[in-house]
Symmetry: C2
Subunit: 175 residues, 2 copies
């Protein structure tokens, strides 16, 4: 394979750049291992392979990856994302069920945000009260004993961020 690939014109629709996995990783900021993992779990379709067995991604994969990231932020699981994409790839009317999923997720999202707002308010009130009144021992900073806070909470669970403090070897990151 020659390196200067770009001189070839496909006379077709788009750039259709072929990218090796490292390049995709760099551009998407997603990490090689994760890309392979996505492929294994069916969230990315298997890309073409060049003679040596290297994955050759079509550059449109970058949009896929962007979508995946966005969807994740919105609280979609990889499984849901997989379904949405599969639905899409099955040709025809990709949207029927997908819309339902999205609509449901939106509702949940609203509910979740509302709850977060409620608790945020309570927490910040507790914090304020607590900054005013100093550290009264036995009062345990107000909120721990649950003094200011009324409702006991629905079985909603763990809305954490898990944001990456992790040691990531490859960072990539440009555009």
């Amino acid at each position: 394979m020659s390196k200067a690939t770009k001189s070839f014109q496909q006379a077709d629709l788009e750039p259709r750049q072929r990218l090796k996995i490292g390049e995709v990783s760099k551009r998407s900021g997603i990490g090689i291992e994760t890309l392979r993992f996505y492929e294994k779990s069916g969230i990315l379709s298997r890309p073409a392979r060049s003679g040596n067995g290297y994955r050759m991604y079509d550059s449109e994969v970058l949009e896929r990856l962007a979508f995946i990231k966005r969807a994740q932020v919105l609280g979609f699981s990889l499984e849901e994302i997989r379904q949405i994409i599969a639905e899409k790839d099955s040709g025809e009317s990709p949207c029927a069920a997908v819309r339902e999923v999205v609509r449901r997720r939106l509702a949940e999202l609203d509910e979740r945000m509302a709850q977060m707002r409620r608790y945020r308010k309570e927490l910040s009130e507790a914090l304020a009260e607590w900054e005013r009144s100093g550290d009264v021992k036995g009062h345990i900073c107000g909120l721990i004993e649950g003094t200011h806070i009324k409702n006991p909470l629905t079985p909603q669970r763990a809305v954490r961020k898990r944001e990456g403090e992790k040691r990531r070897k490859q960072d990539g990151k440009d555009e």
Copy 2:
């Protein structure tokens, strides 16, 4: 929360009901195994034991548990909760560092909610557009190709709920 509390003259402070683990589980909706797990991970202090070795919880543990749940919803990890509680239990001024934690968490929370709102908006716009224009094949429901959506997203990750579809043996749940 006052039943027949005052009749007993502990000459002290509170009811001080002693509860076995099953009772605590039922009242808090938290599950026996999880209570033991919390104890092991230092988030609940070891309760008294009665002759037979059974844990005898002081009923104030219920407030602790309520606090833990609230804090979880707000995105505190068990580790953070453990620290807050430890700080408290160490007597003196429990609040110094804790307030910092809480303040930081509040800021993060705001940021996170803002981002959720942004994406929610984009998603719902995409959904709307998409319901209007039917399923134009190749357009993949608008948003999948990332057509309507501009910004590529910060390294924020996985804000999912993980809400329990799980087979839970004990449900508890009353108040």
